[in-house]
Amino acid sequence: MAFLYLYIMKTLTLAILLFFSAVGFAQDKPLSNDDRGKLIYYEVVTVKDAHKDSLSARAATFLKKSSKSLKLKSRESDSVFQAEGKLIVNKTAMVLSRPSGEVLYNFYVEIRDGKYRFWLTDFNFIPYQRDRYGNFVPSTTVGVPLETKPGKLNAAEWAGYLKATTSAVNVFAGRFKAAMMNKAVALPVIKAEPVNPAKKW
């Protein structure tokens, strides 16, 4: 009996540890530097048995659905896409949050039969400032490359922007890969069950 109790305890402890590990250590893939010295997120993905046309259609659908934050700049022969994107960097504490800036980037996709590659690069940060109406708006129109060395004064702030960008890019990459697998990113839907208070209880 004692052996069984110990076994259950060990298994449960392991399960809880694994759960926390999965939540706490789901680390983002860091941005690398390309041959120009620019920060880049680069990935080659193999999709077995997927035809080039099918992958192109999926990429086009993704770009169309993301048109608010991603503007298609060029499309060559249905296999090369280039788009300009924007992501908002937020300062968050508990349930509060406010935008601290935006990061502009270029997004590239190249497609072949059974595989594709994509990369995000040319990250430029534009800080936000509060305007006369209390809204956060870009303080300038020319961004600062994210690989710029910020100097001592703003090192911590800049590291925060870089971390937030890395995280947002990883989320974006996940969304894109899911779309290319033709898996819709389904949000959990909680169905309201009908309630009848008049019913006997």
């Binding site: 109790y5 259950i8 305890m9 449960l12 402890t13 399960a15 809880i16 759960f19 926390f20 939540v23 968050t92 349930v95 509060l96 949050s97 406010r98 800080p127 400032q129 509060r130 305007d131 006369r132 109406y133 209390g134 809204n135 956060f136 300038t140 129109t141 020319v142 600062v144 710029t148 910020p150 100097g151 004064l153 703003n154 911590a156 702030e157 949000l187 959990p188 909680i190």
Partner: protein, 351 residues
């Protein structure tokens, strides 16, 4: 017992992980600023009478500013309150209480900077109602949105805020038009009814260049029905160079107060953390009832040194009042002079 605790812990963990799905709407935004300054007027008495930065040879307070913003679907609100000399008696509307209390700013209440609701009927058309920062002019009350810490004559004599209702239609990213009906300047409620009509045309001909052409006709802060026409524009020429311009004309007939002015704001950013900027201003006060015009020239050199949310603003300012309209005095406190100069060092923290 331990087994039960583990089950409870596991249940709580899963519950807290699933709770997140309830908080999908935009969170409440809280932001604001705090500012403080030291000023030294070289005549050893405060000479330059533009808004704020008033105290001589004193480490003094600006204001604490707190803003809330919440968006739910197409509706949003902004509520922004300020406390402290800059945000109370020195930026009206009940600053008159401070003057009757011998300059005691605590006699005036906190100041509502923004209190409005907004509804976006479509992506292009929004309507806003409440009390808002004015759409006229380049500079604002909050030191966070200004490059220079001291303020211009154009700012000081123009409107600070407008209560009213306005609609804005965006024809594209490059052109939008706002039209609205407002109370008199800087007033929470209308003393003579909704007296003003105003509009703003925004054009952005090229990337980085935005121009606002503004007009407001109605009851002003001087008790007159006046018309103010204003151009506010800025151009981010390169990553390092930015140029701003503000020009305005206030007319209320030849027997009433009016002015024409222009201010240029060239700025150079040595790095994202360090920038230098100049404000060069010319202000002409129109002669009243046949009197002569009087003009002032002002030059202000400011630096912005940023460290995280903190910005240090060292600043020197030289004003020339050739017509003695500003009552500048020499250091003896008696002899009138045409020139005034001051140094200030401000610290502004924005969060």
């Amino acid at each position: 017992m331990k087994l039960r605790s583990l089950f409870t812990l596991a249940t709580l963990t899963i519950a807290s992980a699933t709770y997140a799905q309830e908080t999908t709407e935009a969170p409440l935004q809280i932001s604001g600023s705090v500012d403080t300054y030291f000023k030294y007027d070289f005549a050893k008495a405060p000479n330059i009478k533009t808004s704020f930065v008033t105290d001589q040879n004193s480490v003094s307070l600006g204001m604490v500013d707190l803003a809330l913003k919440k968006t739910t679907g197409k509706a949003s609100f902004v509520g922004e309150l300020s406390f402290g000399p800059r945000g109370q008696g020195q930026s009206i509307p009940n600053g008159s209480l401070a003057s009757t209390a011998g300059g005691d700013v605590s006699a005036s209440s906190f100041h509502i900077q923004n209190l409005y609701v907004n509804y976006a009927f479509t992506d292009k058309f929004t309507m806003t109602a409440g009390y808002m920062g004015t759409f006229i002019g380049y500079e604002v009350i909050s030191p966070v949105a200004n490059f220079n810490y001291s303020t211009s004559y154009l700012f000081s004599y123009g409107p600070f805020q407008n209560a009213g209702v306005k609609g804005t239609y965006a024809f594209s990213d490059k052109v939008s038009l706002m039209l609205g009906l407002f109370n008199e300047w800087n007033s929470y409620s209308a003393s003579r009814g909704v007296s003003s009509v105003g509009g703003q045309l925004m054009v952005s001909p090229v990337k980085g260049w935005t121009a606002y052409i503004n007009g407001l006709h109605g009851l002003d802060a001087y008790g007159n029905y006046s018309t103010i026409v204003d151009l506010t524009t800025s151009y981010q020429v390169t990553e390092k160079v930015k140029i701003g311009l503000n020009a305005a004309d206030l007319s209320a007939g030849s027997d009433n107060f009016g002015y024409t002015g222009v201010a240029l704001y060239p700025q150079y950013a040595f790095s994202p953390a360090v920038a230098l900027g100049v404000r060069a201003e010319y202000m002409n006060f129109k002669g009243v009832a046949g009197g002569d015009d009087a003009s002032v020239l002002s030059g202000t050199l400011s630096a912005n040194i940023k460290a995280g949310g903190l910005t240090f603003i060292p600043e020197v300012r030289f004003d020339n009042d050739k017509d003695f309209s500003q009552s500048f005095l020499k250091s003896d406190g008696i002899t009138p002079t045409k020139s005034a100069s001051q140094f200030s060092l401000a610290a502004v923290y924005a969060f």
